[in-house]
């Protein structure tokens, strides 16, 4: 397998590369931007001691059986921003191994499931060492006949005390034929840890709609603004030109809401 050394700023178009790639990151701060992720991609990341990797992924293609694995060393950190606007049937499986003390993962994902998309997104975090920290934030919008499932397990293994693990999965649903599921799971085999999980699936809140319409926004504008609130925060993980591209994609895809 080819090994790619991540420099401070790396942009990679995956469409022309092998499906299986491994990345090594040893810089105190590096940014890696991946686009044109494709089906059967298997990406593995080694984040070495004291390194920080900001991994930004933008996907707007078909994405079947995609796997991401990250192994984190001592006091290392990975921050993932995944903007998932892929289409049709998609399966994404991410596994984060927090292997040494101080290893940290922040996972942010925004996903839009529309038309007949069927998306299954799994993010697992393994706390394999004491004092490791994981956070998963998955936000989704489901419309038309879209299907969207967020699942993920945070494992805090025996002996891994003082670890912290938090999961948050939220999906806003628009149409009666949508199928949306959020299943954040904690599996904990140690005391003296901190863990939480939250999930919500539902239509846009009536109280939120009332609040926004009481300021003069009509129902459609209010719904749109609230919906964008699920997707737009992911933009902060990308540079300006990608932000604009994702932004216009969101507005195009939601234009018939």
């Amino acid at each position: 397998m080819n090994k790619i050394i991540v420099e401070e700023n790396t942009n990679l178009d995956l469409s022309t590369l092998d499906s299986q790639l491994s990345f090594e990151c040893s810089k105190s701060k590096s940014n890696l931007y991946l686009h044109n992720l494709k089906s059967d991609n298997e990406l593995s990341f080694d984040v070495l001691e004291n390194s920080v990797l900001y991994l930004s992924i933008f996907s707007d293609k078909v994405l079947e059986n995609c796997k991401i694995t990250a192994n984190l060393g001592k006091k290392s950190k990975i921050v993932v921003y995944f903007a998932d606007f892929s289409v049709s049937k998609n399966k994404l499986d991410a596994t984060i191994n927090l292997n040494e003390e101080g290893a940290t993962c922040e996972w942010h994902l925004a996903s839009l499931s529309s038309n007949n998309d069927n998306k299954d997104i799994v993010v697992n975090i393994y706390h394999n060492h004491p004092s490791t920290f994981g956070r998963i934030d998955n936000y989704g919008v489901c419309k038309d006949k879209g299907q969207l499932t967020f699942s993920g397990i945070s494992y805090i293994n025996k002996g891994c005390h003082l670890s912290k693990s938090h999961q948050n999965a939220k999906i806003v649903v628009f149409d009666n034929e949508c199928v949306a599921k959020a299943k954040p799971i904690l599996k904990i085999d140690e005391n003296d840890i901190e863990a939480s999980h939250a999930a919500s699936v539902g239509k846009v809140s009536d109280e939120h709609i009332f609040y926004l319409t009481s300021r003069g926004l009509n129902l459609e504008e209010a719904k749109m603004l609230i919906t964008l609130g699920y997707l737009k925060p992911i933009l902060k993980g990308f540079n300006d030109s990608i932000q604009n591209a994702i932004d216009s994609l969101i507005e195009r895809r939601l234009s018939n809401v």
Partner: protein
């Protein structure tokens, strides 16, 4: 000069009649204190005037000048010139405060506002409210303290420029300095000719904004509509005189406690049912 006219308003919430025939009017330039014991319909009145879908108007009407608002949607009422500063504004994650404010300003003003002009407006208003500008760039009310939420409501009031503003316990959660700041803004807007309908349980805010009138709601009806000396009297002696002088007995708030509360065995209670 715009006048909001409420006529014989009856309002139900979840099938229970809360307001039982409310009639009054308020014009621009007036500041009216709305008083009454908890649970007697003050907030219900505000929500019904603003068109909250949970509050069903079963009888009566709401007019702003010649415009019948009774069956209009909430956003149409807002664009007509009404504003409601909420007691507990919702936290809306992901919606950036300034994006929301700009959409609201555009919705309520005749022409679209330029980015530059909007930020200028926002900058001035946040300074006047002594509010850190970064609150404008965060998610709407998310993680805001009680006081920050209330300032954010006043910020919206300043930017949206309504004719009549209803403020529901806008002073709760504010410290003394912040109440002064908010009162200064209300006084300035009143001098510009806005009308205010204000609910508060504390005389401090009323001392600062000097209402021109006071209305007391008891049992879902207006029992007094008079001069602002009522505020001082109620602050000092409570609502007891309504019973002794007007012969109206004040209904107690219903006990809303669930049958099952902490400390009892929820399973056993539910089996009993």
């Amino acid at each position: 000069m715009a006048t909001l006219k409420i006529n014989d308003l009856h309002v139900q919430v979840e099938g229970k009649e809360i307001l039982k025939g409310i009639s009054f009017s308020i014009s621009e330039g007036e500041t009216v204190a709305l008083l009454g014991p908890n649970g007697h319909g003050k907030s219900t009145l505000f929500n019904a005037i603003m068109g909250h879908p949970r509050y069903k108007i079963t009888q009566g009407s709401i007019y702003l000048d010649d415009l019948d608002l009774t069956n209009l949607s909430t956003d149409e009422r807002a664009r007509a010139g009404l504003f409601l500063g909420l007691q507990n504004p919702a936290e809306v994650p992901g919606v950036i405060n300034s994006d929301f404010l700009r959409a609201a300003v555009n919705a309520t003003s005749k022409e679209r506002i330029s980015t530059y002009k909007f930020y200028k407006l926002l900058d001035n208003a946040t300074k006047e409210l002594k509010m850190p500008f970064d609150l404008a760039t965060r998610s709407l009310n998310e993680g805001f303290s009680g006081g920050e939420k209330k300032r954010n409501e006043i910020l919206q009031l300043m930017l949206l420029n309504p004719k009549i503003a209803m403020l529901d316990e806008i002073d709760s959660g504010l410290d003394v300095d912040a109440i002064q700041t908010v009162a200064d803004v209300i006084n300035k807007l009143e001098a510009q000719g806005k009308g205010f309908l204000v609910i508060s349980h504390y005389a401090r805010l009323f001392d600062l904004i000097k209402p021109t009138r006071a209305i007391v709601i008891v049992n879902g009806k207006i029992v007094l509509d008079g001069d602002p000396s009522l505020i001082k009297r109620i602050d000092q002696t409570g609502y007891e005189f309504i019973k002794t002088e007007l012969g109206i007995s004040i209904e107690k708030e219903e006990n809303k406690m669930n049958e099952v509360s902490i400390g009892s065995c929820a399973v056993r209670e539910s089996i009993k049912k």
